[in-house]
Amino acid sequence: MNTRFMSGFALTLAAIVISFTPATPAQAEALTLTDIAGREVTLPETPGRIILGEGRMMYAIAAISDGNPFEHIVGWKDDLVQFDPDAFRKFETAFPADAERMINFGNPYAGDFSIEAVLEADADLVLLDSGNLFKAEETGLIEKLDKAGVPVVFIDFRRNATENTVPSLLILGRVLGEEKGAAAFIDFYIAEMKKVANVVDNIPAEERPLVVIENAAGWQPDFCCWSFGPYNYGRFVELAGGKNFASTLENAYSVTLSMEGVIDADPDHVIGTGANWAEAKPEVTSTLLGYEGDPAVNAEKIEALAARPGFAELRAVKDGNYHSIYHQFYNSPYHFVAIQQIAKWLYPDDFEDLDPQDTFNRLHDKFMPYEASGQFWLSAN
């Protein structure tokens, strides 16, 4: 016992000593880490040419990078360009040459993500999101890349967003050589998360309001509703002190609700997610939230969403508790902003002094390579 403690202590000491050794950039030193899928991965050296399985991983990379977040990135999937064009243009303005040189590798789980293209790009690491681990195994993508000598590391900001964000940031910090940036961002993340958790912990279960999350409200103009079980936005609601309706029905990531079930449940709040999908899908009726979100446009959009058949008669809608929030918080480490705003909607008195917009601005001032702008949430009248 004692010796184990001592050896553990010695190891810790050694670790501290090592971490104080000045790091030389791009050192040829093997790096072994355990990724979010629980796989142990050894990188022969600090990677310098990384492919992102999702472009939206840039949200996290930009937040922890000191300087140019594109420095080690050679390509991505164009989901950021397609589904969050506002954020993409922010990156484009800040780093025009880098945004230009990004190679679109397409969907890593589809046929168009070719191993050849990965080798052609001379990549030395592929970052995938763990929500698709099963698919990656099924299609043999990991094996093929392994054979080609390109390691794969899984991170996750979506499936178990709140649980996996800190470990994912730690992993990103290590593979990008941005440990300091990651640590600083994690401190910020924890502090902001605790602002809500410390208050919500004291609220008894029976006093928690019932909340319906509508995933991508208006994506399908004639259909309601996709929701989240106790994952992602469903979990955000729970952490913000709400009772998530879909969690009471099914323990699944994605749950399809019936409108009648929603009406019968008589929720206290309905929260739809929205983003600027209008460029990729002009027929959407969603609120176009994001860095270019226009309050006047979104005010009209949210009124139309709240007036859809079935919604118009909901108590939540009549009481002014139909809200809309930026969809992409669901796949980014900034979800603490969403949790703060949801908490403020659910408990306006308890969180009177909490200012999520200020949190969002401070996030940008401290960590992001661009300024905050646009609109990220609103409520219907």
Partner: protein
């Protein structure tokens, strides 16, 4: 040992015919009653706890409803319940006539690739954002699905015009289209995002949740045009089932009839799948159930196929709500589960071959 049967008298024949007609009417009436009951159950069940009398009151006296009841019954439950009936009937009729003109027990809108064409059309809209008719807004997924299904059946139409209308050729071209569109669909699915995939799944497995009164209206109009036409051709279609040569000898223009019926069937299936997505099984099994009960005479077979299709889909609508109240399941995966036990029990209880 030979047995000499006495030739029946005229009176016997007339009596037998009357009995058969009466039985046919009774069977159709019985099926209609069963359908009425399933629709009733469909309307009174749902996550919201509304009693039978309350529902009836709201339906017959809409003024008494609270806004909540009004939305639940008039906007949510009734369109879905009626859509299930109308679409089920459309698929049943489409399957029945496809089996008749192609003389093949496996023919239905699925086998001929019309459903997969519609699914592909929807996928083109969902994944690529391409619209056949630009600027029609929210309806463009539906319009795309319809356009692709019609193009597929027009392709079939043209092919049969070119090569002569042999049923084998039509079936084979249909199957070729089925595989082509499925392959194209798989291509699009590969590149789809999370939300697009979720949307596609509901298209491929079918859903009544998008039903509105306007869509119900369109379906009713199409059925009201096509079904009477088919009924008016009853005797010719019945003759066709006795064999092409016999039908021709009886004065039926076989090729002309095939093309007209194919056009009607295409319209029925294209409209149905473009509103509710691809629903397997109903168009195939509905007619078989009807055939086992009343035989080939189109005057009984056609209405009963429509009713059998409507019954299957109406039952499915009830089941899809009952699994977990508050959650919507795609109905395509339930149609088979509901229909198969009944279908298998019918096959097992039939002594004679029902397809000749």
């Amino acid at each position: 040992m030979t047995q000499i049967t006495e030739s029946p008298t005229v009176g016997d024949i007339v009596a037998t015919y009357r009995r058969r007609s009466l039985l046919r009417v009774a069977l159709v009436a019985g099926a209609a009653l069963a359908l009425f009951i399933t629709v009733l159950i469909d309307v009174i069940t749902g996550p919201a706890d509304l009693s039978f009398f309350r529902v009836a009151h709201v339906i017959f006296q809409p003024g008494v409803a609270t806004p909540k009841e009004d939305v639940i019954i008039w906007d949510l439950r009734l369109p879905v319940a009626i859509m299930a009936v109308v679409v089920g009937a459309m698929l049943g009729v489409a399957g029945a006539e496809m089996q008749t003109i192609l003389n093949n027990p496996l023919a239905d809108p699925f086998t001929l690739g019309l459903s997969s064409a519609a699914s592909f059309g929807a996928a083109v809209a969902i994944v690529l954002g391409w619209s056949v008719l630009p600027g029609i807004g929210a309806l463009f997924v539906t319009v795309n699905a319809f356009a692709f299904a019609m193009v597929a059946s027009m392709g079939l139409f043209l092919f049969t015009k070119l090569r002569g209308v042999s049923p084998e050729a039509m079936i084979l071209v249909g199957i070729a289209m089925l595989f082509t569109f499925n392959a194209l669909l798989a291509f699009l699915q590969y590149g789809a995002s999370e939300l697009q995939l979720a949307q596609l799944i509901f298209w491929q497995l079918g859903s009544l949740a998008r039903a509105t009164w306007a869509k119900v209206g369109i379906c009713v109009v199409v059925l009201a045009v096509v079904l009477p036409y088919f009924l008016s051709k009853s005797w010719a279609l019945t003759a066709l089932r006795m064999g092409e040569d016999k039908a021709a000898a009886l004065g039926v223009n076989v090729n002309g009839l095939r093309l007209m019926v194919l056009a009607g069937v295409s319209l029925l299936s294209a409209v149905a799948v473009s509103f509710v997505g691809a629903i397997a099984f109903v168009g195939l099994v509905g007619p078989h159930i009807a055939r086992m009960i009343v035989g080939e005479d189109q005057r009984g077979f056609l209405p009963l196929s429509a009713l059998a299709g409507a019954l299957i889909l109406s039952g499915t609508s009830i089941a899809s709500k009952a699994i977990t109240p508050g959650i919507v399941y795609p109905i395509g995966m339930i149609t088979s589960l509901i229909g198969i036990p009944f279908f298998v029990s019918l096959i097992l209880s039939q002594r004679k071959r029902h397809w000749q």
